[in-house]
Amino acid sequence: MRLYDCATVIRSKNAGPFTLTIDLMFADENILNKVLNSPSFNTRQIAGLYNVSASTVRIHAFKQVLAIKVVLPRSFASSGAPGDRDVYGSQQHFPLGDIDIAAGVADRK
């Protein structure tokens, strides 16, 4: 199942000109836990998708409000600098949204 289809909200935005933050919100705790426990949802996988190093990616679970926050640096350019493609960072929830949550360890490259 695609992460995009599991989430009720999946949004990205700048947190300052050098950082992207992607919020994921879920309908219930089961789905939230399924995402958190999925072997395809971790800092290493996300870092690969966004061309950044895994040590710069943070995943915060915020269970009170059934949300997960992913924070990572902008790999391509800071907001509005030459080379940027998304000044507000509002469409950077992909490729994250394409992660297959049901994929097991065997499916990983």
Binding site: K13, N14, A15, G16, P17, F18, T19, T21, D23, M25, L49, Y50, N51, T56, R58, H60, F62, Q64, V65, A67, K69, V71, P73, R74, F76, S78, S79, G80, A81, P82, G83, D84, R85, D86, V87, Y88, Q91, Q92, F94, P95
Partner: protein
């Protein structure tokens, strides 16, 4: 000390509009002051770099006029932070001219405090040499050269300069670049309210009714601060706050939902409690301020990187779409050769944004399969002068129109231009080259206040 203090956040961004009824309703309860944020770095470095606002003057006038009239009618302070957008002198000055026009039109008289936020380059260089500057997030290390190349630097003031202005009897405060929280926390802090709660309340309030359901940054939010908690409630009766909507708001645009940092210190929300209050309000308690050992302010500085020209085109020919990367490579090469003697290839950049393939995500690991029926294309040139950018673009655009590729059937032209002229000047291009924290011992000295009797 007062038992409680009420205030109104006019909207999340002055100039983005709000219902006038919300202002009226919000002012009908006991309001000690009202305020609004007018700034952001979201629209990118151009606005700070170029000294222009991202909200048009007529939008500011529309939102400011009723707010100023309401503030004077109730004789309570009006506080605007990051005036004019990026909050540097040209922004503040253009905001002031709108304010003074409104005051003149309605024959309003008040004590005006103006707080500029421009930071002198020598101050930054001095702090740099004393190792008092650190990166704010995943930003490059600062160098002397980068500081020297900045064309404009502002600092985000905290509550202290605003507190000074209020203590000196300001009725209206127009502040340059300012922490969003300072706008709403300064007044309660003077009155002796818990700074952690005041700053958390301010953090929610600065977005207007964005924390409500339905969310609306373009609407007003009422807040009441008490000894050990605060209450937020949308002024508009069609919206309500819920514990989940307010708690979830802490996620928005923040790297960490459990805490945030201001010049005053770390605001710890890990123990915060969110409860329903009445029909549409939410009560928040348990937030604490962990005072910073040293006060730091955030610096924002921009550097001019060149001038931009762009052309917009579309392609529907399937073989041309299949070969678009190859076409781009050859256009880049031919353009470089043909520009010899005019500009060196290292001195300009040429970029192709392919909408429909990877214009947004750009990671380009694999193209969509099947390829789209049509793609949109932006050709972008950035060069040291506008004339050179225009030239690089013009040459690459005409080359691309006629560039040959394997199996080409569309031999009369590869590109559909929607407009004549096809090329547009984008003007100067800037980059945030300073986004760093600077330690300061005398916060107020950096942000001098000027008073004027209007």
């Amino acid at each position: 000390m007062r038992e409680e203090i009420g205030f109104l956040s006019i909207c999340g961004m002055l100039g983005y509009g709000y219902p006038l009824q919300s202002l009226q309703r919000g002012m009908s309860s006991n309001v000690a002051f009202l305020g609004a944020d007018n700034g952001s770095t979201d629209p990118g470095p151009y606005y700070l770099g170029n000294g222009t606002g991202f909200v048009k003057s007529l939008q500011i006038k529309r939102d400011l006029e009723p707010a100023l009239l309401a503030a004077r009618k109730h004789n309570v302070p009006l506080i605007i932070g990051s005036a004019g957008g990026s909050g540097a002198k040209p922004h503040v000055d253009s905001f002031l001219s709108i304010l003074l026009d409104i005051a003149k039109k309605h024959n309003l008289h008040f004590r005006l405090a103006i707080i500029y936020a421009d930071i002198d380059k020598h101050t930054v260089l001095q702090a740099y040499s004393e190792k008092k500057i650190t990166p704010c997030g995943p930003v490059h290390e600062l160098t002397k050269e980068r500081i020297s190349k900045c064309n404009r630097i502002v600092g985000q003031m905290g509550t202290e300069p605003l507190i000074d202005a209020l203590k000196n009897g300001a009725d209206v405060i127009i502040a340059g670049r300012c922490c969003d929280t300072a706008i709403f926390a300064a007044f309660p802090i003077i009155q002796g309210f818990e700074p952690g709660l005041a700053l958390h309340c301010a953090k929610i309030a600065e977005c207007g009714a964005l924390c409500a359901q339905p969310a609306g940054a373009n609407d007003s939010l009422s807040a009441i601060l008490r000894k050990d908690h605060f209450i937020v409630e949308p002024a508009n009766p069609t919206r309500r706050c819920t514990p989940a909507s307010v708690a979830a708001h802490s996620l928005y645009e923040q790297p960490n939902p459990e805490c945030f940092f201001e010049p005053e210190g770390k605001i710890d929300m890990s123990e915060s409690k969110f409860e329903s209050y009445g029909e549409r309000g939410v009560k928040v308690s348990g937030t604490r301020l962990i005072t910073a050992a040293k006060t730091t302010i955030k610096l924002e500085g921009t550097e001019l990187k060149g001038y931009r020209s762009i052309a917009i085109a579309g392609i529907c020919d399937p073989i041309a779409i299949m070969n678009v990367s190859k076409i781009e490579r050859e256009v880049t090469e031919v353009t470089g050769k043909n520009l010899r003697g005019i500009i060196n290839t290292n001195d300009y950049s040429l970029r192709f944004l392919r909408y429909g393939i990877d214009g947004v995500t750009g990671y380009g690991k694999k193209s969509p399969d099947p390829l789209p029926r049509e793609i949109g294309l932006i050709i972008e040139a950035i060069a040291p002068t506008q004339e050179l950018a225009d030239t690089v673009l013009s040459l690459s655009r005409s080359t691309m129109l006629h560039q040959s590729f394997p199996g080409r059937k569309t031999t009369a032209g590869n590109l559909a231009f929607p407009f004549s002229p096809s090329d547009f000047q984008g003007g100067p291009v800037y980059e945030f080259s300073i986004y760093h924290l600077m330690e300061t011992e005398d916060h107020c000295r950096l942000f001098p206040i000027a008073f004027e009797e209007v």
